[in-house]
Amino acid sequence: METTQTLQMRFVTQAGTRVTISLDNPRDDLTEAEVTAAMDQIIAKNIFSTSGGDLVAKDSAQIIDRTVNVIYEA
């Protein structure tokens, strides 16, 4: 059994759609302030293009736990 964690940062685009930027292996001591500061930085620097235009606001952030149980392996 193997567990992996992914931090998903969701943003709102100019067109009002949601875009997620993901990050594998987030630190387990992350604070809300650290994550929102990084998201603010991503919005401020405006380096990513999306089909909905620029990222303009934060939507949410969550950590997804994924557990893999191998049933069969040749």
Binding site: I21, P26, L30, A38, I42, K45, I47, F48, S49
Partner: protein, 75 residues
């Protein structure tokens, strides 16, 4: 014949060390690729975002790289 190169796409690639090879002791480096970076984004801005993202994850950052794709056209 002069050929013009135009940037049309850019990726941000973070190199992180996820461990060390138990046999050789060499660092194991994995790539974290972020696509759809604007070609016109400044290096300063890309670097700042790379540091912000890298600071959230558990593995130490080895190197920040940027890959620009250029389209060549004969003028």
């Amino acid at each position: 014949m002069a050929v013009d190169a135009t940037k049309y796409d850019s990726d941000l690639v973070l190199k992180v060390q996820t461990g060390t090879d138990p046999g050789t002791g060499d660092p194991v480096v994995k790539l974290r690729r972020y696509t759809r970076v604007k070609p016109e984004a400044t290096h300063d801005a890309v670097y700042a975002v790379a540091e912000a993202i890298a600071g959230l994850q558990v593995h130490p950052l080895v190197e920040i790289t940027r890959q620009d794709d250029l389209r060549l056209e004969a003028g």
